[in-house]
């Protein structure tokens, strides 16, 4: 190794040694520095620990003395510390008995509590946990808890602390408010009026009635202003009133206005708006109550139309109409009345009716006025002089007029001009009277004639009998025969006269009303009249009892039955009396198996003096009397017959006339 190399190595070695010493020096300095830092840290640590202890006890004091209940629990909900307020509130003392808070939670809040604890563990704090709990005496309390986690030195949660607040009363008040509010809501929602709350033109609340009226949903309405739903024509008036309200001139107002519905149609409504003011007297809201008057308006319109219709009818009807007040002053007349009376309307209205219209019976109108005041309506006729002095007859239907309170304020009269009818009626009455007189004369005449005719007849009959008795030996056969013929003719004439007499009374004499048992009547007839031996009179069913004139009823049945039994040529004759009952009539049929009546006589036989047969006893009066009696009892008579087979007489009697009242 040459010296140059040795020198080089020596220098290098020297540098390495120096470097080592330098490094050692640096390290020593670093050690010293570390030692100082450690020492300083220890000191600081001790100071901090003291500070922590002080603060902890200070905090303990704060929590123990805190007014609200304060509880510390471990993560299994066991209470590890609580202040006196908590002991008092919960009724438990964790020093005396172990207390697990999870046991206190009301069953309704278990799930909520689990969620809340979960969130506490995740976030580290829990604010405004609200639940019901059981305290020791068993009562239920509402509590609000604000809670946070407590961590150990390695940041692991070990416990939780919480401050409780008893909010039982608060919740009760809240519940009460809620109930009252829901009651109020029910009232508002069920109100038949639409109710809207308005703030500065904006709709902020609307009940269901208004949503139905307008067709908008509440959410839609809440995005709208009053302007959206108002009819532009009514808006100015509404705005003016609201302005006055804001100026304090009005507290509320009502208007009739229109709203626009969602479907574009229009709603007529009466709107009442009131201001809701705050303590400073400023308007907070406007409350609008909206009443649907669409129907009311429609009704008013229809009343108007009706009124117009009736006015037009009154004006144009052919009946005169006049209204007077209680003093008989004319209030109104129609054109027809003017025409009837001959006065102009302006001549009538405002005048006293009795001064203008000259009623012939002076006392009639005042007595009718008294009736009107008593509230009675009636109809009557008057004879009156019109403006020209011509006599007119009016049929007046009068009725009282009432005001809205039902007081009589006058009367209303409807007049029908019956002058022409009246003249006719008077003519008719006169004619009837004349007719009656002439009828009476005729009847008396018939009576007298028949009576006066009968007495010479009787004399002729007596004289012819005497002539026969005295000269029967002298007279030859022809003479005797002629005398018999004479007597027969006299008897026949007598019957004729008797028939005329009966016919005249059948028409006119008053009808008696006694009980008439038809069964007895038929029996009597069977005994009275001559019935040939080969003929039988049969009544197959029981007949009714009538309330009628006994003589007339006997005459009726006797005439028909008498005809029937006489005209039977068959070996065995049969006459039946059949009866049936309809609602309004008794119906009878008298049926025989006799010779029958040819068709052309079916009408004729009921006319007077019409007889078909050549039998001497037939006068041709009997059936005309029958028809008269049936007619007087409101019935009909007709015949069915075939020659050679028989005849059936049908007739009816109106029950109304000849029955007992039910």
């Amino acid at each position: 190794m040459d010296s140059k190399e040795v020198l080089l190595l020596k220098r290098a070695l020297q540098r390495q040694k120096m470097a080592r010493q330098q490094a050692e020096k640096i390290l020593e300095a670093k050690s010293k520095e570390l030692y100082d830092v450690t020492h300083h840290l220890k000191h600081a640590n001790a100071k901090l620990e003291n500070l922590l202890n002080e603060k902890t006890s200070e905090l303990d004091g704060v929590f123990i003395n805190i007014i609200d209940p304060y509880v510390v629990m471990d993560l299994q909900f066991n209470v590890v510390n609580m202040n006196s307020s908590a002991k008092e509130f919960l009724g438990y003392d964790y020093m005396e008995e172990s207390l697990n808070l999870s046991n206190l939670v009301h069953e309704d809040f278990v799930e909520y509590t689990t969620e809340s604890i979960q969130s506490l563990l995740e976030v580290g704090v829990l604010k405004n946990y609200r639940a019901k709990i059981y305290v020791k005496d068993g009562s239920v309390k509402w509590v609000q808890i604000n809670s946070s986690l407590i961590y150990n030195s390695s940041s692991q949660p070990v416990a939780a602390q919480g401050i409780l607040r008893d909010i039982t009363q608060e919740m009760e008040i809240k519940q009460l408010l809620l109930e009252q509010r829901s009651q109020l809501d029910i009232i508002v929602q069920n109100s038949p009026l639409g109710i809207v709350l308005i703030d500065d033109g904006k709709i902020i609340k609307a009940n269901s009635t208004i949503t139905q009226l307008l067709g908008y949903k509440e959410v839609e309405l809440k995005c709208m202003t009053v302007k959206h739903i108002s009819n532009p024509e009514d808006e100015a008036e509404g705005a003016r009133l609201v302005k006055e309200m804001k100026q304090g001139k009005l507290d509320n107002f009502s208007i009739v206005n229109r709203y626009r519905k969602k479907d574009g149609s229009q709603l007529w409504a009466k709107t009442s708006v009131s201001a809701v003011k705050n303590r400073n007297g400023e308007i907070d809201y406007l409350v609008a109550l909206i009443e649907d008057i669409t129907k009311q308006r429609a009704a008013e319109d229809s009343i108007k139309a009706e009124r117009e219709k009736y006015s037009s009818i009154i004006a144009n009807m052919n009946l005169g109409l006049i209204e007077v007040d209680n003093e008989d002053i004319i209030q109104m007349t129609n054109q027809s009345f003017c025409n009837m009376s001959g006065f102009q309307q302006n001549e009538l209205v405002g005048k006293k009716a009795s001064d203008l219209l000259q009623v012939q019976n002076r006392n009639l109108i005042p007595s009718k006025s008294l009736k009107r005041k008593a509230g009675i309506s009636d109809s009557y006729e008057v004879a009156v002089l019109d403006k020209e002095g011509a006599k007119k007859h009016w049929l007046i239907s009068g009725a009282p007029r009432y005001d809205l309170d039902n007081n009589v304020i006058g009367s209303i009269g409807i007049h029908l001009d019956i002058t022409n009818q009246k003249i006719l009626e008077l003519q008719k009455e006169r004619l009837l009277k004349e007719l009656e007189n002439s009828n009476k004369g005729l009847q008396e005449y018939a009576h007298i004639v028949s009576h006066d005719l009968k007495s010479p007849l009787r004399s002729i009959s007596a004289l012819s009998t005497w002539l026969y008795e005295d000269y029967k030996d002298v007279l030859d056969e022809t003479g005797q025969h002629n005398l018999h013929l004479m007597q027969d003719k006299v008897a026949s004439m007598d019957r004729l006269i008797q028939g005329i007499l009966e016919y005249s009374t059948a028409n006119n004499s008053a009808l008696g009303k006694t009980e008439v048992d038809l069964n007895i009547v038929i029996t009597t007839i069977g005994d009275t009249i001559f019935i040939p031996e080969h003929v039988q009179l049969v009544v197959p069913m029981k007949l009714p009892t009538l309330l009628a004139d006994a003589t007339k009823i006997q005459q009726l049945f006797q005439n028909i039955i008498g005809n029937a039994v006489m005209h039977i040529e068959k070996e065995k004759g049969l006459v039946e009396v059949i009866f049936s009952d309809s609602d309004s009539h008794w119906s009878f049929t008298i049926k025989d198996n006799g010779v029958g009546i040819p068709k052309e006589y079916h009408e004729k036989i009921f006319q007077i003096f019409q007889s078909i047969g050549s039998k001497e006893r037939s006068t041709g009066i009997g059936l005309s009397i029958v028809k008269k009696i049936v007619n007087r009892y409101g019935g009909d008579i007709w015949v069915e017959s075939e020659v050679g087979k028989g005849t059936a007489f049908h007739f009816t009697l109106l029950k109304e006339i000849c029955s007992f009242p039910l």
């Binding site: 080089l8 220098r11 470097a19 640096i26 390290l27």
Partner: protein, 180 residues
């Protein structure tokens, strides 16, 4: 400047050019520290400038090239001294991307007085990285060498190009594209 840079630099000179060259540059550089360096100490940067300048004179090699070579050498040395730092990465780009936020933070823990360059990332993809080197020392060629060795460590290669944003080399934009 940290002592480890000096000790490692002299180690490289010694191994590449021999003890004689190492001794020569120390003797002729006229250093305040007299060339006595320990990795835990801190020394004036101008001593490094003197040492490199002397080495350039003796070896007649361009200074930038010398610094670049030192970068190659330094990566292995630092890797040996702190293997856990490199082991925590599985790609060279990830390592480069984390210089500022991770590696330099660890350096600062051990050497609170270290004056470190900054690397500002402009763009990063899975296979490329653009960043700006920024240091009053202007040792961007050292960074160049270190970057290349980082790829080599992960058995990868990369094309590293750079552009001087300032002429004195205190701000240099690197563009690194991993090959393959």
């Amino acid at each position: 400047m940290k002592g480890i840079i000096f000790t490692e630099f002299l180690e490289m000179v010694e191994s590449k050019f021999g003890l004689e060259t190492a001794d020569a540059i120390i003797e002729s550089a006229n250093l305040p520290s007299q060339g006595i360096y320990t990795s835990v100490g801190t020394y004036d940067f101008n001593e490094m400038v003197s040492l490199i300048t002397e080495l350039g004179t003796i070896t007649d090699i361009e200074l930038g090239e010398l610094i670049y070579t030192f970068g190659h050498y330094l990566f292995a040395s630092l890797g040996n001294a702190h293997p856990e730092v490199i082991q925590s990465y599985n790609s060279p780009l990830a390592l480069l991307y984390s210089i500022e936020d991770h590696i330099h933070v660890h350096v600062q823990k051990l050497y609170p007085d270290a004056e470190l360059p900054t690397f500002k990332i402009l763009e990063k993809t899975d296979t490329s990285l653009t960043m700006v080197y920024c240091s009053t020392r202007g040792l961007y060629r050292l960074a160049h060498g270190l970057i290349e060795k980082a790829f080599e460590h992960f058995n990868k290669t990369a094309t590293v190009s750079y552009e001087l944003l300032k002429e004195d080399g205190t701000e240099v934009q690197f563009h690194i594209v991993q090959n393959g």
